[in-house]
């Protein structure tokens, strides 16, 4: 552990039972240090009651996202050096989700919308059927693949103002997954899915702010996916078929 002798001025959101405020901590700065390391240091060395969430620590599980200096980030893969502003950090819970305590948010609404968007595979075959041959160069397969590597971290969900403004809005991640499925030739639930993304909280509420695509740590592009859904639903409305 190489300490640099410098200190980070870290301001961390504390909240319990709906009452919240920022609290300041001084954290020794190290060469290799992520935001998650900073938060863990505070819990382990300064205030044992600080609550936060993580699991994989390498950007695979999507449980550690927080607002860092105002922007949504996966904290386990965000190097302090990349975001610290003159050795100052402001760390807050992920936006647009209810806070359980301090930096840990309740992600259920995010996943409830995932299901509400019919962003769940609907099988057309069973385990007794053979593996369907799929051409990896098929444009539909490519479109589906481009959208699939989502870790459901809700960073995009926090970056989107429509989510904040419209409680029904399904949000970029769920719609992105729905688009991936629209391109999945094995799926048997397209009608229900297009219907699900066409309602008062559906894809048409996206105002193309593109914060989702800008902050997605996996460089996915929910804006593109949502546009795809807008086209697909428009086509089905005009009776041009799928």
């Amino acid at each position: 552990m190489s300490e640099t002798g410098e200190f980070l001025q870290v301001s961390i959101w504390r909240e319990q039972d709906g009452n919240g405020h920022f609290e300041s901590f001084q954290v020794p700065r190290r060469d290799n240090q992520t935001i998650l390391d900073v938060v863990a240091w505070v819990q382990q060395q300064a205030d044992p009651t600080l609550s936060y969430r993580f699991a994989c620590r390498v950007g695979m599980c999507g449980s550690c996202a927080m607002m860092v200096n105002g922007a949504p980030r996966w904290t386990c893969r965000t190097h302090v050096q990349k975001v610290a502003d003159d050795n100052r950090l402001e760390i807050a819970p992920l936006r647009n989700l209810p806070v359980i305590k301090d930096l840990a948010v309740d992600m259920d609404p995010f996943f409830d919308k995932w299901v509400a968007a019919e962003a769940v595979f609907e099988p057309s075959q069973t385990r007794d059927d053979p593996m369907p041959p799929i051409n990896p160069q098929d444009p539909m397969r490519i479109a589906a693949s481009d959208a699939i590597e989502c870790i459901n971290c809700a960073v995009c969900y926090a970056a989107c103002d429509v989510v904040a403004a419209n409680p029904d809005y399904l949000g970029p991640a769920a719609l992105n997954r729905a688009w991936s499925l629209v391109n999945d030739s094995r799926d048997d639930g397209q009608d229900a899915r297009l219907k699900a993304v066409s309602g008062g909280g559906g894809c048409h509420n996206c105002h193309v702010q593109q914060g989702c695509a800008r902050y997605c740590p996996n460089e996915l592009n929910p804006t593109l996916s949502i546009s795809g859904l807008k086209r697909a639903t428009a086509k089905s409305l005009l009776g041009w078929g799928q």
């Binding site: 429509v162 403004a165 419209n166 029904d168 066409s198 309602g199 008062g200 559906g202 048409h204 509420n205 807008k230 639903t233 428009a234 409305l237």
Partner: protein
């Protein structure tokens, strides 16, 4: 807030308006030279079915388009919902339609000056 039908209506009206707005802007840049007068305007538009259709379709489109747009904004930013929201949206639409319709009528077929 927007569902598929409202969305399509907004996009279609936008598509209709785009060439009309370009046309309007072009005429304005040309017409505004040296100031505008009622007579100048009317000389161009009076009795012209073409101008009537041109501005008429714009008014129709913009009433729908702007009403839907304001509906979304009132919902997202002012938190207005439900029946009240629908009432206001229709209000915006009808107001634009009436005022717009009257204006188009005025500059094309109504007999002012004639």
């Amino acid at each position: 807030m927007l569902n598929l039908h409202l969305y399509m209506a907004q996009r279609l009206t936008a598509l209709i308006m785009a060439p009309l707005v370009i046309g309007h802007l072009a005429v304005m840049i040309y017409a505004v030279q040296g100031g505008l007068s009622v007579a100048e305007i009317l000389a161009r538009t009076q009795g012209s079915l073409a101008w009537f259709l041109f501005y008429g379709s714009f008014v129709l489109a913009v009433s729908i388009h702007a009403a839907i747009g304001m509906r979304v904004i009132m919902f997202e930013w002012l938190g207005i919902k439900g029946t009240l929201l629908s009432l206001i949206s229709w209000g915006v639409c009808l107001l634009l339609l009436m005022l717009g319709g009257r204006a188009v009528w005025a500059v094309t077929f109504a007999g002012a000056g004639a």
